[in-house]
Symmetry: C2
Subunit: 406 residues, 2 copies
């Protein structure tokens, strides 16, 4: 393995770091909880607030393009997840979008009553599925399996399988294409949660044959805290869905103010209420950081960063147990280790300027965001982790000096 | 009636106008579509973006109080609608919140299958109710009546009545307390849409005995385009509701990441996903414009502005037909007129610097927002409307000069 400095020097994506504004003296390995602030976003948001809202007022819906903003953002996200703008809707939270696609999926398989998911799925996926089946009643239910028992659980009672492509704790990645084929073989529909995928590596929803997907705007897409989420509906399903969450923005003619709901053509029907324009504008601006980025290079860098972190940490901290697969194909863009004192270790790391995440009961999670992380960040994080594990204090000034070397 | 200048001089709320930044040369009578920009909001949002997000990053959830922000905002809104923070949840769109409270109401009246609403209700209310009944099936249905036939339609099949307190077209106002009592007498639950009430005049949800309510953040609350909405659940119902939209932010322990959904205590369970912090922060900042405002004075000023506009327009433009009740008690904070050429008239008004709203087929709608409107604005708007009706051009400089007089 090349030295960290050498790898950074040769990194074809190294200039992308300047598209973000990172706080001094911090190694941020939590971009999979909240992405960092894109450079210039603050100024562009001032423009949205002072000029668009302040001066144009209600005319901003037309003049400033607010009415089309969610479709505009959808086009940018579509390019990152392997589909067209006509299959992506942006707005609401991930949880709400899960409800939308699950209810749509059930309506397409009326004779089947089971939603199948992974018991290790992100909890809100399970909570939303549970709430939906409780609301409908009539024998609808959520069943849980593990990656190992999923195949057995996939019988002809299953209407839809709801899976997160990358496990938020372990970083393990499902083979979306193979799993989707398997789900289809059993007559069910495949719903993919891309919260830890979109923006982290290339996703190919159309090519994988996915039926539905949802994803988050504030992790690898850097849209800001609680940024609007997105959903995907395969082209072949669009005209067969009448949304359960049927709001005026999804109406065929929202400003005709007619009494009867008539779904908009295509993906537009998946919109519901008035979108939060300020948060949506921030997401729109943030997505420009992906302009011209070769996603296959991004993936390669992410894998290199992960490999380096695994190598350095295993070498320095043998008491930490790797839980992320070593096989590049089987993981996303994070590295997780297990330790019984994981919570305390993460607190010490954070106190020493390395921001990662703890996930109960014992997982230390480190997000590798290749748009703005450098190999020297990864090396320094491993060194600091080593000192924390050894119970030694860490000299914050040392890292600051190191960061300035580059 | 005192002159406009005199009324402005005597207005006890006249200093509130400085809490907003209004574009020069514009008379804005559309605050019931989108409220104007509060003064200083841009700077405070820069702080949220650059300091909270940019520097604190994921730590902002604790350091900057994002995790409690929706509850904090709920407290401010609660004070405007006559209840406590423990009965209000802020987040998602109005449409999504309608779904939440409707599904909750149905669960409280399991033997009844009808949602009753007003056929003149804002369309998204009807669309959402329609989508919910379609999703549940089992004979659930939405029935529509008019204000006149509502009493007859309210039989023992009705689980919940969904009404907007102030009609978005006519400005007519339901008597919330009397209607709620009537609904309760029939064994049904009362759900009030406060989109054209909250922030426009004092609302007394608890005192009226309302069961549920929803409302908008971007009209009279001035939270910015698409600002998060709010909902209300009467204290007596809180522990009996298991939300149909059950997301992780409504879980009793969101960061325990348990597989099973367990609703948070009280109103917290009505939260769903991660809230859009930028839009929510703007709403939070905007609500400070209500600090120390006596809502009964606000109501009185709103009524005076409405009265003045009705008087001046009827005097000057006899061909416009008033559709808003003359009786102060029976209207909200808007004045609407009917004219077959309403669309063209509104376009001409807007071109001449008076922003109102057209609502099909023939309604000219003028929102009276007493926080920042002056009597001279109302008078000038009536004068311009008169000239538009007479087909005369209007000299924009004249109003600019007039505005500078004060």
């Amino acid at each position: 393995m090349a030295s960290a400095q050498e790898s950074d020097h040769l990194d074809p994506l190294k200039d992308l770091r300047s598209r973000f504004t990172l706080p001094d003296g911090l190694i941020y390995l939590d971009g999979n909880s909240l992405g960092v602030l894109p450079t210039g976003l603050g100024d562009r948001m001032s423009e949205v607030i002072e000029r668009q809202w302040g001066e144009r007022l209600v005319r901003g819906w037309n003049d400033a393009g607010w009415i089309d903003l969610s479709s505009h953002v959808a086009g940018k996200i579509a390019a990152l997840v392997g589909t067209g703008a006509n299959c992506v809707a942006v707005g609401d939270s991930t949880s709400i979008n899960i409800f939308k696609v699950l209810s749509a999926a059930l309506s397409l398989r009326p004779s089947r009553r089971v939603i199948l998911s992974d018991k290790n799925n992100f909890p809100t996926d399970l909570y939303v599925a549970d709430g939906l089946t409780r609301l409908i009643g009539q024998g609808y239910e959520l069943k849980l399996a593990t990656a190992e028992t999923m195949t057995d659980a996939l019988d002809d009672s299953v209407a839809a399988v709801l899976l997160t492509e990358v496990d938020y704790r372990t970083g393990e990645r499902y083979d979306m294409k193979a799993m989707t084929r398997h789900i289809h073989d059993k007559g069910a529909l495949a719903i993919w949660d891309l919260c830890h995928s979109a923006g982290a590596f290339p996703v190919h929803l159309d090519a994988a044959g996915a039926d539905f997907a949802i994803g988050c705007g504030y992790k690898y897409l850097n849209g800001g805290p609680g940024a609007p989420a997105f959903l995907y509906v395969a082209q072949r399903h669009l005209e067969d869905i009448t949304p359960a969450l049927s709001g005026w923005m999804g109406h065929d003619a929202p400003f005709a103010f007619t009494t009867d709901y008539r779904p908009a053509e295509g993906i537009g029907r998946m919109k519901v209420g008035t979108p939060p324009i300020l948060s949506l504008s921030a997401l729109n601006i943030a997505l420009d950081a992906f302009d011209g980025v070769d996603m296959s290079l991004l993936r390669r860098k992410s894998q290199e960063l992960c490999d380096r972190f695994i190598f350095e940490v295993e070498h320095r901290c043998p008491e930490l147990e790797l839980v992320t697969p070593r096989d590049r194909a089987r993981r996303g863009s994070q590295v997780s280790f297990r330790h019984p004192e994981g919570y305390a270790i993460m607190q010490a790391l954070i106190a020493n300027g390395v921001i990662g995440d703890f996930r109960a009961p014992d997982i230390l999670r480190f997000g590798m965001t290749p748009l703005y992380l450098r190999h020297i960040d990864i090396l320094a994080a491993a060194e600091i982790l080593e000192r924390v594990m050894q119970g030694r204090l860490w000299d914050r000034e040392e890292y600051r000096a190191r960061a300035k070397v580059t």
